[in-house]
Symmetry: C2
Subunit: 146 residues, 2 copies
DNA sequence: ATCTATAATGAGAATCATTATCATTTACCA
DNA sequence: TGGTAAATGATAATGATTCTCATTATAGAT
């Protein structure tokens, strides 16, 4: 069984949440660690065909989300895709294709990110809103749909 | 029947799309014009209880989206909420409550928006992605869930 | 190592949002 | 006014997600 650094961190976090890091949960995390974009429960179950049933994938994702290990990303046609949380995968943003719905992760340069944070700070300063995070979504056509 | 400026624009746009601007469609648009955030089909049907059935609300939203009159916003628990398109309602961003899922519209000051656009421009310059729009999502707790 | 209480799992049923179907009604235009 | 295509309403079908419950696995106590 793989023992990446991320795995250790997940292990620790789940222990803190008082839930077990079982075989099935490890497998779901392993797939998400390798993925280069958010994945839906169905996609995960497909990847883990025969090893982890769909119902368990859903339950596992709920547990992982509750523990702050993964984060949901809501997309077209009622599909929710999950990815490793920011503190594990790093802060990033999304390029969303308006044709096919594909989501691509993107990281901003330090200076651009700082610029963006300035905007967010001012937004939460003005609104009666307790901001805990932000995400920039850039909509457009990906290279395949261009 | 109300005849706001927006209504005229919607009328014109639908005519261009070759579909009729019927009573039911007018009522859905009227509610969305008044709303201060995206609304789901169920919420719209509730607002129009007895006047427009749910199935027609869905169909109407599909037609309006196709014509570019409304825009979808995908949220938690497989819910899609719609709002008037940017060219009608003006460019804005969203405050999303991580507790209750409520979405509130927010407009940035000219200078903040300019700052944000700088970031987006640089993103699309670097990626092989044809950006057509952007949206900043600020996640946090709304005043009710604080 | 065994027992016990509790957590996790698997299979399938139930639920909720959304889409499709189809018979009926409405609106446009000759 | 009549004919034709578009729109509607009720309801069935679909697809993603959640729930249920009987079974299995696990951590900790003995």
């Amino acid at each position: 069984m793989s023992v990446s650094i991320q795995d250790r961190q997940v292990e620790e976090r789940l222990a803190k949440s008082g839930v077990r890091y079982t075989g099935g949960r490890r497998q779901v995390v392993a797939v998400l660690e390798r993925a280069d974009g958010p994945m839906s429960a169905a996609e995960l179950a497909e990847e883990l065909k025969g090893r982890v049933p769909v119902s368990s994938v859903y339950r596992t994702l709920a547990v992982l989300e509750e523990a702050g290990v993964v984060e949901p990303h809501h997309g077209a046609r009622g599909l929710t895709r999950y990815e490793m949380a920011e503190w594990l995968a790093g802060h990033h943003h999304h390029l969303v294709c308006i044709e096919c719905g594909a989501v691509e992760d993107i990281q901003l340069s330090r200076s651009l990110e700082r610029q963006l944070e300035t905007v967010v700070d001012q937004v939460s300063a003005v609104s009666s809103f307790n901001a805990v995070g932000h995400s920039l979504e850039v909509d457009g056509r990906c290279k395949r749909c261009r």
